[in-house]
Structures are given as structure tokens and as C-alpha cells.
Symmetry: C2
Subunit: 191 residues, 2 copies
DNA sequence: GATCGATGTCATCGCCTGTTGACTTTCAAT
DNA sequence: ATTGAAAGTCAACAGGCGATGACATCGATC
């Protein structure tokens, strides 16, 4: 039985709560994830979650903040030029999704986008500011933004079916196969 | 003030409740839509919703049952052959999404897939049984199912960004433009 | 070694939810 | 006319939720 009061020794309880929030939001969605469940996963009193992060919405915003610099992400894709950007985009996208350090935050963001208006705004802003606007500016031809958005939509769709719905054919596919199949279709939008 | 007891005259209250459920599930998602809100939208007591449809899950299942024969849908796309199937698929897909009679049910299904495990199963089954398996069998080449699933994923992604997230570039695009842009990429998967 | 903020728990409040059972009114069949 | 099922409402319950404020403990500072 855990006593009351501060725990002895060095501990990063705040980080554990944040990790538990990411995992729970990713697994259950925004409404399905309760403060109590998050607190239990972090072995902590529910009140402590509020103490560190304020309201549930505040916690959600903290949970979906990615530990990833978006500018660098965009540069790595479009920096070498338009040629091969489709495959680089696909590889980078699935790379961060497969990375355990970023996966829960991405899943939380994606699922959260379906739960609340604020969650939708977060995703809209993420894709708009971080991805589409940054990459579409370097494309040639008409409707560059729309084409870039459609490329992003394709990636979102694969992420939805692979990581949320867990569609068997997609879940069992390897990242290499996905990149090889999806990359050329992205390239068709970009080129 | 509405009195108690049965209402006089001919009325399809059950249908109104179902329509209200579709609209509310589509707008707020599974958890965001409350029985009370659905009942209020149908101008009805919350208990009547249970009287007609049982539990909330039962109501959801009834709400996402599409007024659309899936077999005919698949035949219209692949019937004339693989040539041009990509554009036909895109046109049919956006057709049912733009149709007010089916849109709310589709939105409910899509949003519901993110809210509960059962919702995910519904979507998995819908795409798997209705779309992928039915169409993939008529394709040539290797990995027909995976390629068909990726085509479906692309469409899901566009639906997500256009109808749920309401991404501006996608929301303002016309169906014709979408079909013209997306169709060839689907064709690349099918052919 | 007293003090003070950071860390952490406890008990509880008010609210909203899905669901239920008793009751009332209308319609249709006898 | 009577009856019985269908349609519809009302009041309420039990449980879970997010959130709050008072309290307990620890670590560092002077």
C-alpha cells in the first residue's frame, strides 16, 4: 500500500504520467481514455495527473506534441529534389509510425482527431502547417497544394487501416513493401 | 408541452429516431453522441430510443447499416473490366459519400471505427467483405489483395480528411477534380 | 534544523451517462 | 364496447466521470 506524500529518491513521475497518457489515448481514444485509467497505468493518484497537466484537454495537447522537429522532417524529403521524393516521403512517414517513441503520440493525435473538434483542429494544423504547406511550395505545376494534400491523404488512409483498424492485409505487410507500393503513387502526385 | 402516451395519426417515429441517430453519430462520433441528444433531435423521450433499438451499441449497429446493395456496387466497378476501374471506383466512392441518404451512415461508421473495438470491427468487415475481397479476386498479378487494400486505404484517407477533419483544400475540391486526380492512382494499384 | 516549495494522496463534490420499470394514451381487432 | 398490444412518457437509479481543495511527505536552502 503506497503511503501518502512525496516519494523518496529520484523519479520522473511526470514523464511516466505523460507516457501512460500517450499509451492510453493511443489505445482507447480520447473519450475512452479516462484520467483514472491513465493514473492507474502510471501508478499514481488521479489528482496528480491534474496537478501536472491541468484539464484532460491540456493533457491531450501535451500527449500529442511530437518529439520530432518538423522542419528537418520536411527538408529530408524535399531537400534532394522532387525526384524520388515520393519514396522518401513514404519511408519517412512509416519510419516515424514504426518508431515506438513516436507511435503512441501519432496514434493519439489520429484517434483524437475523430473524438473532438479540438482534436480535428490539431490534426488539421499538423498536416497543414507541418507537411502540406512546407512541401507544396517546392512543387511545380498546377494545384500543388491539392496534389500534396491528396498524397498526405493516402498516407493517412494507410495509417488508419494499418494502425487503428488493424486491417489484416495491411498490418502484416512489411514497411519495405509499403514503401515500394505507395511511394510511386505519392510520386505521381508530387511530380 | 407534449402529453404522455401514444401520438395520434400516422407517424414514422422509429425512422426519425434512426435518422437522428445517424446525424448525431456522424456529427459527434460514438461517445460524443448521447442517447439524450439523439432523442432530443428526434423530439422524443430518451426511453423511446431504447424501446426501439435496445442498447446504444445496438442503435449504432442499426445506424451504420447502409441502404445500399454492396454486390451491385462492386459489379458496377469491376464488371466492365479492369480498364478504367480506378476512375469508376473513385466516382462510385465519392458518389455515395456525397449522397445525403448515405453520407451520415458512412460518417457514423467511419467515426465509430475510432471509438470502440466493435466500431473498428464493423469497418474492417465492411471493407474486407464488401470491397476488398469482392474486387481483389478479379485482379491480375501478385499481391492483389494488398494492392486492393491500398487503393481502399487511399479512398479512406481522402474521406477522412475531406469529411471528418474538413481539410480546406480537400473540402473545397469538386468531386470531378477528385475523381480525375485520385482515379489514376487507384488504377495504378488495380492494373 | 526550521522553512518552503515540489511532489503526492485522500475524500468528495456535482454532473452526466445509459438504462429500467411503471404508467398513460392511442390504435386495431373482436 | 372491450380488450390488448403498440407507442410514448416520466421519474429515477446506479455508476463513472472530471475536477477540487485539504492534507501528508520529501528534498533542498538558509
Amino acid at each position: 500500500m503506497a503511503r501518502s506524500g512525496r516519494r523518496p529518491g529520484d523519479n520522473d513521475t511526470r514523464g511516466e504520467v505523460l507516457a501512460a497518457a500517450r499509451a492510453t489515448f493511443a489505445d482507447k481514444g480520447y473519450h475512452g481514455a479516462t484520467i483514472r485509467a491513465i493514473a492507474a497505468a502510471a501508478d499514481v493518484d488521479p489528482a496528480l495527473v491534474h496537478h501536472y497537466f491541468g484539464t484532460k484537454e491540456d493533457l491531450f495537447v501535451a500527449a500529442v506534441r511530437l518529439p520530432m522537429p518538423p522542419a528537418e522532417f520536411a527538408d529530408r524529403i524535399i531537400g534532394p529534389g522532387v525526384d524520388g521524393a515520393g519514396e522518401r516521403l513514404a519511408a519517412a512517414f512509416f519510419g516515424v509510425w514504426e518508431d515506438p517513441a513516436t507511435r503512441d503520440a501519432l496514434l493519439s493525435m489520429l484517434r483524437g482527431a475523430f473524438a473532438t473538434d479540438q482534436g480535428a483542429a490539431v490534426l488539421r494544423d499538423f498536416f497543414g502547417t507541418v507537411l502540406v504547406r512546407r512541401l507544396a511550395g517546392r512543387l511545380d505545376g498546377e494545384d500543388a497544394e491539392l496534389r500534396m494534400t491528396l498524397a498526405a491523404a493516402h498516407l493517412v488512409g494507410v495509417a488508419v487501416l494499418r494502425y487503428v483498424i488493424r486491417f489484416p492485409d495491411l498490418e502484416s505487410a512489411s514497411v519495405d513493401d509499403l514503401v515500394a507500393l505507395v511511394g510511386p503513387r505519392l510520386q505521381a502526385y508530387l511530380g
